[in-house]
């Protein structure tokens, strides 16, 4: 094409105008943009102002932090010495006091591992191995073995029990859920039928029912020489229940993987197993991280149901503490503390989930 030879010079970028960016502009557009927005903002501000100052006053300003129940009853605000007094039973249940250092060590190990995991210091196979060994280590420390005095599982309770049930539940039910989902999605008709039956049966009954069945009925079905203690039966019940839900979450992820991915891997001559393990499952898990983390949080909260089958977990001990005759009338503090602890742990799991989502090539979008 003949014509004039004009060289194209791209224009420089300019910064955006000041009145359209910055915090004041954000406030103006988002909170006070229209009459409707302004009204909503003011109503919300009003509601918050009527609740939060009173709450802070009760929680902190007028609260007592030292003393006994006499001093607390004279004061107006929350009674935190109550929680301090009950702290050990809330954490450990009726675990023998002189042996409390053993769960302490397990707790420190958990915190260290969790911190290392959060800052990505350990990865890959070592990470998985560490989290697999932690429950075993905790069991040995808390239950006693190799010469240490044994502590029967009926004495385990408190936050330690809740965390143990949830942690083992998550560690076992996620791989089990993945296997169930793969069986349902890729399996032969026989395997698929078994997986579907398992999933639908366990999803179809409330967790309480499963806990009852595990606690009361399982011993009837087991061979007479196989005795599984109550806590282990409850733990198995929680694992089975959770794995059914994890399976369905993972199956959603499997369905989202385009068939071109498996086709490309198979066309390269890679076996079907390697394709599923290295191409499909990693992508599927990344897709469903939000609901997967949500199921972990839900499992932790569901551990509070074990009170119904007689295990005194954190919430069970809170209830017991609230009814203590020495500290009558301080139920609010007990449940406020329970809410705080549950929230702290659940929010930490949620934060870690968000961090996981941001990893990898597609993470920057979030």
């Amino acid at each position: 094409m003949s014509g004039n030879n004009i060289t194209f010079q791209p224009s420089d970028d300019r910064p955006a105008p000041a009145s359209k960016v910055g915090p004041l502009a954000w406030l103006r557009t988002n909170l006070f943009g229209s009459i409707k927005d302004t009204v909503i903002t003011l109503v919300l501000l009003g509601t918050l102002l009527s609740i939060i100052p009173n709450l802070i006053e009760w929680l902190l300003v007028k609260a007592s932090f030292q003393g006994d129940d006499e001093i607390c009853r004279q004061a107006d605000g929350a009674c935190w010495p109550f929680i301090v007094d009950k702290f050990q039973v809330l954490m450990l249940g009726v675990y023998p006091q002189d042996l409390a250092w053993r769960p302490g060590i397990a707790a420190v190990a958990l915190i260290i591992l969790a911190a290392l995991t959060y800052v990505d210091r350990i990865r890959g196979v070592i990470l998985i191995a560490a989290w697999a060994i932690l429950p075993i280590f905790a069991l040995i420390m808390i239950g006693g073995a190799f010469g240490m005095q044994e502590v029967d599982q009926s004495l385990w309770g408190g936050l330690m029990l809740s965390i143990m049930l949830a942690l083992v539940g998550v560690i076992v039910s996620i791989p089990l859920g993945v296997l169930l989902a793969l069986g349902r999605y890729y399996g032969s008709p026989a395997i698929k039928a078994v997986c579907v039956a398992f999933i639908e049966l366990l999803r179809g009954v409330p967790l309480i029912t499963i806990l009852f069945m595990a606690s009361v009925m399982m011993p009837l079905f087991l061979p007479p020489d196989l005795v599984i203690n109550n806590l282990l039966r409850i733990q198995i019940g929680m694992i089975l229940f959770s794995s059914a839900y994890m399976a369905e979450v993972v199956r959603g992820g499997l369905q989202a993987i385009p068939s071109g991915q498996t086709e490309a891997a198979l066309a390269l001559g890679v076996t079907r197993t390697h394709t599923i393990v290295f191409v499909v499952v990693p992508q599927a898990l990344r897709h469903v991280l939000p609901p997967l983390i949500g199921r972990c949080i839900a499992l932790f909260k569901d551990t509070s149901l074990v009170i119904i089958v007689g295990l005194l977990d954190f919430l069970g001990m809170i209830k017991g503490a609230a009814l203590d005759t020495e500290w009558l009338g301080f139920q609010a503090e007990a449940y406020a503390f329970a809410a705080l602890v549950y929230w702290l742990i659940c929010y930490s799991i949620s934060l870690y989930g968000r961090k996981l989502e941001r990893r990898g090539p597609a993470g920057h979008k979030r």
């Binding site: 071109g260 490309a264 066309a267 390269l268 001559g269 076996t271 390697h274 992508q283 090539p361």
Partner: protein, 256 residues
């Protein structure tokens, strides 16, 4: 009614032999009596309207689609239900897809090393060496630590070609490799394919790029309704198509 010619490459071994191949999707007869012989080093372009079965045909060669009747022989191995045969054939036949199908959760280098490490048991270091060599050959050596999502379409397709080449296939199948690309990127991918053809690779290419067909192909095959309607050398095919269906197709596709 079809027009057929023998392979134009003289005295070469046959690498692909399809004989009486028929395929149905349920009741829909999608491949009808396909007879195709491909010689070593031959370059074949398959063209035709959409739904004519061209993609299905080449996908039958590496068993991504299963044929119900007829026989397919690849490098002497019969393609049947035997999964060992299938995996064996897939390791000798590389495939490039319209949608690239790179693994988005792996870096480019990992994408290329994946198959040699897990399908050929190659040590990782050697696989990386091979991968880097092919990345240089397609011109993307500097991108090896990036993820597919960070590359343009043309770059991704070149990576896909390099990924297939890492398995040292003797036959390459291309399923509309440039159909999902911006016009500016089509040339860079076609250049890689032409260079590949020059090295003597046996290629079967489903494409709408008629200039590529004209310059590179040894044989052009036109398919419609699941059958091979006409096949000929490029010059004969484009300059004097003999079947009316071919003439109609060419008048549509070459008019702009």
């Amino acid at each position: 009614m079809t027009v057929k010619i023998e392979s134009q490459i003289a005295s070469e071994e046959t690498v692909i032999e399809m004989s009486g191949v028929n395929k149905w999707y349920g009741d829909f007869h999608v491949l009808k009596n396909i007879d195709l012989t491909v010689a070593k080093g031959e370059r074949i372009v398959i063209c035709g309207p959409s739904g004519s079965g061209k993609s299905t045909l080449i996908r039958c060669i590496n068993h991504l689609e299963e044929h119900q009747e007829g026989t397919i022989n690849v490098n002497g191995t019969l393609l049947n239900e035997n999964s060992k045969n299938i995996t064996q054939i897939r390791r000798e036949v590389g495939m490039v897809f319209q949608q690239f199908n790179l693994f988005p959760h792996m870096t480019i280098l990992d994408n290329l090393c994946f198959a040699p490490v897990w399908a050929r048991n190659m040590p990782r270091a050697k696989a990386e060496e091979v991968a880097c060599r092919y990345l240089e050959r397609v011109g993307i050596a500097e991108q090896k630590d990036k993820y597919p999502g960070q590359l343009s379409g043309g770059q991704q397709q070149r990576v896909a070609i390099a990924r297939s080449l890492c398995m040292s296939p003797s036959i390459m199948l291309f399923d509309e490799p440039t159909s999902a690309l911006d016009p500016e990127m089509i040339k860079e991918v076609l250049d890689v394919m032409i260079e590949l053809a020059d090295t003597g690779m046996t290629m079967i290419c489903v494409t709408h790029e008629m200039s590529f067909a004209r310059s590179v192909a040894d044989r052009v095959i036109f398919m419609d309704g699941g059958e091979i309607v006409e096949e000929n050398t490029p010059d004969a095919f484009f300059d004097s198509p003999q079947v009316d269906r071919t003439q109609k197709f060419l008048s549509q596709i070459l008019s702009h």
